[in-house]
Symmetry: C2
Subunit: 230 residues, 2 copies
DNA sequence: CGATCGTCAAGAGCAGTGCTCTCGTTTCTT
DNA sequence: AAGAAACGAGAGCACTGCTCTTGACGATCG
C-alpha cells in the first residue's frame, strides 16, 4: 500500500501543487477577483472540469491560498524577529513590524486576501486559525520576554474589570504579563496593522513618500505606547 | 431650456438615484463581489442594457457607491464629534472614534468598499479625494483646538527631520500643531482604523466579545499616545 | 403644425465565468 | 485477471459584463 499507491498519489500531489502555484501567480497579478479556475486549467493544458478533481470549488482553492498566505506572513515575521538579539526587545518589536510591512507591500494581493475584506461569503475559518496565529505568537513571546526582563513600563491606567474575560486568549500568549500591558500591546498591534492596511490598500498614495521611514517612526511611537524601554 | 429639459432630466436623475439605491442594497446584502448590473436591472423591471444609459460600466457604479460611502462615513463622524462640547477634547476624540466604528459595523460591506482591499483594478481616485478627507478633517480640527487650548502634552521624541516634507498634507489640517504631535496623531489614527478593520473584517471573531468596551479602552490608550489630557 | 434629431428601452449576441454530468480510459486493488 | 476507484475530456446550464442594432417616444426648430 505504499510504493504503488504513492505512484498515483505522487502525481496527484504534484498536480495539486502546480494548481496552487499557478493560482498564486494569477492572484499576485490579477487579484482575488481575477482568479479563474478556467484560466488555471488553460495554463496547465487541462480542461476546466478536471480541476474539480483536485479542488471541489473555487472557494476551496482560495481557502488553500489563504492558509498559505497566513503561513508565509507568519514565517516572514518569525524570520525577521529571530534575527535580533533576544534581549533587544525594542529591536525585536521593530523587526517584527518591519516583517509584516515588508511582506505586505511585497505581496499586496495575498495580504489583501488574509487581512482585507472577506471576498465571497467568508468561508472555512477552522483550518486557518492555527496558521493565522503565527504572527501574534511572535508578539506574545516578545512581550513575555520583555516583561520578565523588566523592560516594560507599567501603564498608569488599569484594565477595565468587565473586560477581564475578553482577553483570556491573549493572556495565554503572554503568561505573567499584567492585563494593562496586554491592552497596550493589543493597541500597538492594531496600530501596526492599521498602518500596513493603509499602505497596502493605497490610502497613503500621493501623501506619504518615505513610507518606510514614516512607518519606522510610527512603530517607535507604538513601542512607547506599549512601554517598551529603548 | 429649463422646464422642458428638466422634465427629462428629472426622470433621469430619478432613475439614476433608484439604480444607486438598489445597488447599495445589493451591496449591503451580497457584498461588492455580488453586485450585479443585471440583478439591479431585473429588480427595476428594466433590461440589463438599459442600465448602461446611466452608468457606463459596473466599475463606474461602484465608484459612485464608494464616494457615497466616504460621504456617509464622514457625515457620521462629523455628527458624532459635533455632539460633544468643544472644550472636551478627549470626549471629541472618543466620539469621533465611536463614529467610525459604529458606522463600520453597521455598514460592513460599504466599509470594506472604501477601506478594504481595492476590488478590481482600482479605479477612479480623483473624484474621491475630497469626500475621503472628511473624517481626517475632523481629526485635524480637534487636534488644532486641543493644541491651542494647551490640552496636548508635548511628546519627548522629536520628529525625524528627513520626514519633514512627508507630512505637509497633515500639517495643513492642523495649523500650528508641532510635527511630533502630528506624528502621534497619525499613529493613533492608524490604531483606530486598524481596530475597525480587524473588527469589521472578522479578525476578532471568537476572541473579543465586549468589543465596544474593548474599543473604548483602546481608543483611550490611543488618546494617551496623542497626549490628550483627560 | 410638422419635420428632425437626440434620448431611450429592448433584444440579440459575444466572450467569459463556476459548476455538473456523462463517458470512455487509465490506474490501482484484490 | 476482474472489479473498483480515479481520472481527463467534452458538452451543457445558468450566470456575468458589455456591445451593437432596432424601433419608439419626446423635445426642438423651421
Amino acid at each position: 500500500m505504499t510504493a504503488s499507491r504513492t505512484a498515483r498519489e505522487r502525481v496527484r500531489a504534484e498536480l495539486t501543487r502546480e494548481i496552487t502555484d499557478i493560482a498564486r501567480r494569477q492572484l499576485a497579478t490579477e487579484g482575488a477577483g481575477g482568479l479563474s479556475l478556467r484560466a488555471v486549467a488553460r495554463e496547465m493544458g487541462m480542461v476546466s472540469s478536471a480541476i474539480y478533481r483536485y479542488f471541489p470549488s473555487r472557494d476551496d482553492l482560495l481557502t488553500t491560498l489563504i492558509i498559505d498566505g497566513y503561513n508565509a506572513l507568519g514565517a516572514a515575521v518569525e524570520r525577521a524577529e529571530a534575527a535580533v538579539p533576544r534581549d533587544d526587545h525594542l529591536g525585536r518589536w521593530l523587526a517584527a513590524c518591519r516583517g509584516v510591512r515588508e511582506w505586505g507591500v511585497a505581496h499586496p494581493h495575498e495580504y489583501a486576501l488574509i487581512y482585507g475584506s472577506p471576498v465571497p461569503g467568508y468561508q472555512a475559518p477552522q483550518e486557518t486559525i492555527e496558521a493565522r496565529l503565527r504572527d501574534v505568537v511572535v508578539l506574545g513571546r516578545l512581550m513575555t520576554d520583555a516583561w520578565q526582563a523588566g523592560a516594560v513600563r507599567t501603564p498608569e491606567e488599569e484594565a477595565p474589570p468587565q473586560l477581564e474575560p475578553d482577553i483570556a486568549g491573549f493572556r495565554e500568549l503572554m503568561p505573567g504579563v499584567p492585563d494593562p500591558v496586554i491592552w497596550r500591546a493589543l493597541s500597538a498591534w492594531t496600530s501596526l496593522y492599521g498602518w500596513v492596511n493603509f499602505e497596502v490598500f493605497g490610502q497613503f498614495n500621493n501623501t506619504l513618500h518615505d513610507r518606510g521611514g514614516a512607518f519606522e517612526h510610527s512603530m517607535r511611537i507604538a513601542a512607547g505606547t506599549i512601554g517598551l524601554a529603548q
